[in-house]
């Protein structure tokens, strides 16, 4: 279980996160929604160790991982699929996947690989092709596959729907939801598009200007019209 | 009130002029009151400063790390030597030739070379530019081997410095000198330039494409010290620097050793002091140009383009134009410095203008402080003084030559690294309170 307490992050004088507290429980999807610039990516990057928080703590399964390097955090079971292009186009599909688990034993790696190929069969077909030959949806599957190769107990997804057709988004998110349910993984899903995210998420938070303005059950957030108007703009 | 005055362009110009004249006066007084030996070092320092003012602009302000300036000095040096050797009247205009004309043409040669190199170099990112100019530093000097008849090949060209008779410092201009000299006295009418005979310089141990160091190219003597041009000629650390050149000179009736010359002419005229006075004058003129460029609009344009070409373009500055102009200015300065070096060495040769010289310029400007002209001047003094310091220290301790001769370069290399790591503003930056003030902190060139 990933526990975040009073997390604050600044870039120079710009405060991107203010006192954010959140628990990401295993076995389901937790959504983080908010307008562009709300601080969603900052939250995810801080959890993964790419950004150092100014104050606050992050615990993974009871261990304090605040301020650790990304390499160490991923070894403690937290894997991030960053926003945008997060595959390496110069490597093959197989290499992109292998990259995700280089530090694990080969048995662990093989097990993860079969699971990823079962989840995303297209990756098995394309494993020896360069990643830049994949379509946008396939590339997002590869990015998620690479993160799953790390054998995470908490999976952080930063706007996986970006630039993808709605049908494909739905497919991918439903897969992720099933994955969380079946494997007991904690999933933290960032979306600008609240409707999609709230469909697969059990609970969620709404970020605005770096602060949590609402948290609760996804259904409640989805039905709160005032909130939608104020922070989500639809 | 004072601030306002300083900001007005006219008064800034006047202040710069006053400061320059003051510096010139002090240096000239110094030159007149020290040993000829020290005048020689003064000349070298002024020559380095001239070239390094250009490095401040190119490497510091416009952020283009270039190693080509040694080769550009070669352009100036050879143009100076050739024009003074070949021409007795100025082409087209027809007026009689003198040293000032040679300086003008040397500068012109530098500008042309600067435009050519700048047109290519200004389009390139850092490491590519550094590599290209490295190629220039290594490749251009080998051109002399293509035109041995004209450029003297490996042996280079020997030239006679046109110093006036009648005593220093009274006689300053060529004209005065000419008036006081009998017309048949050939060397005072014009500088004599003669090619060295092939046997007068030790020939290089191998063909020069084969990795010759500058020193070897000229002298065939052990390499190592990349920073003292006079050693490039003689291969020996020289105490009376012009002696070495004299040894190989064919010009019999003119003792190139200044002290002897003074004795011969029967006055207090000293060659080294004359050379220093030329070097000081050129350095002051170039320094005056540089300070006005740097502290004016152009200086801000260069820095704006260095820090953020895109943002500069948005406010109407052409980044490519700014970068090329930095090249042109720095190669003008380099060529003038090269012409001065030719007069100090009374010699031009590929070995004197090799990669070692280019590296010295970079070392000097980095150590002194690559963001300020004062840093360039400090660096110039350092380039001349550090080897002497090492010499003294090692003399006291009785170190072997192999250590002594290479210690300055080891120090330079290590100091450059230390400065880059700990004090990017160099000595000047450290003195004036650091990098931060000279230069806005921002991350550039993230890939």
């Amino acid at each position: 279980m990933l526990t975040i307490e009073n997390l604050s992050v600044s870039y120079g004088s710009v405060q991107a996160l203010r006192d954010v507290s959140l628990t990401v429980p295993p076995g389901r999807v937790t959504a983080v929604i908010g307008a562009n610039g709300a601080g969603k990516s900052t939250l995810m990057r801080t959890l993964a160790g790419l950004v150092r928080p100014r104050s606050g703590t992050v615990h993974m399964n009871g261990e304090d991982i605040t301020g650790m390097s990304p390499e160490d955090i991923v070894r403690r079971g937290v894997a991030l699929v960053p926003e945008g292009r997060s595959t390496i186009p110069d490597l093959t599909v197989g290499e992109n996947l292998r990259l995700g688990g280089l530090w694990r034993t080969s048995a662990q790696r093989n097990a993860s690989e079969s699971r990823v190929f079962a989840l995303f069969p297209i990756l098995a077909e394309r494993r020896s092709m360069r990643a830049d030959t994949l379509s946008g949806g396939e590339r997002q599957q590869l990015a998620i596959g690479r993160a799953l190769m790390c054998g995470p107990q908490a999976l952080l997804l930063d706007e996986p729907s970006l630039g993808l057709a709605p049908l494909i988004v739905t497919q991918i998110l439903e897969l992720v939801e099933r994955l969380a349910r079946e494997s007991g993984m904690a999933v933290l899903l960032v979306e600008q598009n609240a409707a999609t995210a709230l469909r697969v998420a059990k609970t969620g938070i709404v970020l605005n200007l770096g602060q949590i303005v609402m948290s609760g059950r996804a259904a409640d957030i989805a039905s709160d019209e005032q909130l939608r108007h104020a922070y989500l703009g639809y | 009130m004072r601030d306002l005055m300083l900001r007005a362009p006219g008064s800034r110009f006047a202040i710069h002029a006053a400061v320059t004249v003051a510096i010139w006066a002090v240096l000239t007084w110094l030159n007149g009151s020290i040993e000829p030996q020290l005048s020689y070092y003064l000349a070298l320092a002024a020559m380095y400063a001239t070239a390094m003012f250009g490095m401040t602009i190119l490497v510091g302000l416009s952020g283009q790390v270039s190693l080509g300036n040694g080769a550009l000095m070669a352009v100036g040096g050879y143009v100076f030597a050739l024009t003074s050797m070949k021409w007795s009247t100025v082409p087209i205009i027809g007026v009689p030739w003198n040293a000032v004309w040679s300086m003008v043409f040397a500068g012109l040669g530098g500008v042309i070379a600067g435009v050519l190199i700048g047109a290519l170099g200004a389009r390139l990112r850092g490491p590519y530019l550094a590599g290209l100019t490295l190629g220039i530093a290594v490749g251009i000097p080998t051109i002399v081997n293509r035109f041995p008849a004209l450029l003297g090949g490996d042996e280079g060209l020997k030239l006679i410095v046109p110093y006036p008779e009648g005593g220093y410092p009274e006689a300053i201009s060529q004209q005065e000198a000419a008036e006081q000299v009998p017309a048949d006295d050939a060397f005072l009418d014009e500088f004599l330039v003669e090619e060295l005979p092939a046997d007068s310089a030790t020939s290089a141990p191998a063909d020069s494409g084969d990795l010759l160091t500058p020193e070897e190219a000229v002298s065939g003597v052990e390499s190592g010290d990349l920073l003292t041009p006079e050693e490039a000629v003689s291969g020996v650390p020289t105490d009376a620097p012009t002696d070495a050149a004299t040894d190989t000179a064919l010009v019999v009736d003119v003792p190139a050793d200044g002290v002897d010359a003074a004795a011969a002419v029967g006055s207090d005229f000293v060659l080294q002091q004359w050379q220093a006075s030329v070097a000081i004058a050129v350095a002051c003129i170039v320094g005056f140009l540089a300070i006005n460029l740097v502290s004016g609009r152009q200086g801000r344009v260069w820095q704006a383009v260095r820090d953020d070409p895109v943002a500069a373009a948005v406010v109407g500055i052409a980044p490519a134009g700014a970068k090329v102009s930095a090249f042109v200015v720095s190669s003008l300065f380099a060529a003038l410095a090269g012409a001065v070096l030719a007069q100090i060495l009374t010699f031009v040769g590929a070995g004197a203008f090799g990669l070692g010289l280019s590296l010295s310029l970079l070392v000097g400007v980095v150590l002194g402080g690559r963001m300020s002209l004062a840093g360039a001047a400090i660096g110039a003094v350092l380039l001349v003084w550090l080897p002497e310091l090492v010499d003294t220290v090692s003399g006291d301790r009785g170190w072997p030559d192999q250590i002594t001769n290479n210690a300055p370069n080891l120090l330079y290399g290590l100091l450059v690294v230390v400065v880059v790591l700990l004090a990017p503003g160099g000595i000047m930056g450290a003195v004036s309170g650091g990098w931060a003030r000279v230069r806005p902190q921002r991350a550039r060139e993230t890939r």
Partner: protein, 292 residues
């Protein structure tokens, strides 16, 4: 025709060495985005180390092994002491620092071993082979050099494409962030790049030393050749470095053969300038050379 063939064959051995030196430049560039202008200085220094070992033990191969080890150590030292701390400074700083290292290494070598050119022995004969009663320009040593280069390139290829280390290094070069998120210790991969480049450069130095004589400055010109080859190949591309390293060697060998050796630097410069003018990104590259 005969002479052309001779020059051409001789060029292969030259090209092999330039290719290795270019490979070293590319390995460092890929890991650190720094052109290591000190690379030939390192190679010169390790060649002197190798020569010292040969002098002491009489074993050429031991000299090579120790030189390679010294290359690894030197690469690691420079990475940790100079290049890793300098990355925080501006981009000019990194370039200048490599030149500082070059100057220091050359001075140190001159202090230890003197400035006089030294002869480096060869493991096999360095005189022309006689074929059908005629002496041709290619020597057993040339063939040795070419074979050594091919073996080294094969080893490198296997390491980079077939091992965990290679995959980690490539991923770190292409996208450090994704590599870190995958658990790759990217800073160690930078060090690995410097170590491997130092070893490759050391081999290049030992191979070229017998043909060029060894002195503190004698490899300077190879920096120009190797940089030219690496840039034409695209700086990022190992294949490009090898291809154009050999190509540059062949061209320079023809130039040297038909005119004289002092033209080589100028021809390399012209080649480099033309390439930077017309195709600054190189032949095998996705990276930008131009700034404006």
């Amino acid at each position: 025709m005969d002479t052309f063939v001779n020059f051409f064959l001789g060029g292969f051995a030259n090209g092999a060495v330039i290719a290795l030196m270019a490979l070293a430049l590319v390995l460092v560039w890929r890991s650190s985005r720094v052109v290591n202008f000190a690379q030939v200085g390192q190679a010169m220094f390790t060649s002197f180390v190798g020569l010292t070992v040969v002098d002491l033990t009489g074993s050429w191969i031991l000299g090579l092994v120790i030189a390679i080890a010294a290359g690894a150590v030197l690469g690691l030292i420079i990475h940790f002491l100079v290049m890793r701390p300098v990355r925080r400074a501006d981009s000019s700083g990194a370039i200048i620092a490599t030149f500082g290292v070059l100057i220091a290494l050359q001075a140190l070598a001159a202090m230890i071993w003197g400035g006089d050119p030294r002869a480096y022995p060869t493991p096999v004969s360095y005189s022309g082979i006689t074929v059908f009663g005629r002496v041709i320009a290619i020597t057993p040593y040339d063939i040795f050099v070419i074979v050594a280069m091919v073996i080294l390139v094969l080893i490198l290829t296997i390491v980079l494409t077939r091992t965990k280390l290679g995959l980690s290094m490539r991923a770190s070069a292409f996208n450090p962030e994704v590599a870190r998120l995958s658990g790759v210790r990217v800073s160690r991969m930078l060090a690995a790049g410097w170590i491997i480049a130092g070893m490759v450069g050391a081999v290049a130095g030992v191979l070229v030393a017998p043909t060029a004589t060894l002195s503190p400055n004698s490899f300077d010109i190879f920096l120009v050749f190797a940089f030219t080859a690496a840039v034409i190949g695209g700086l990022d591309s190992l294949v490009g470095a090898v291809t154009f390293g050999i190509g540059t060697g062949l061209l320079l060998s023809l130039v040297t053969g038909y005119s004289d050796a002092s033209n080589a630097a100028l021809v390399a410069l012209i080649l480099l300038a033309l390439n930077l003018w017309f195709k600054p990104e190189g032949a095998f590259n996705h990276h930008k050379a131009r700034s404006v």
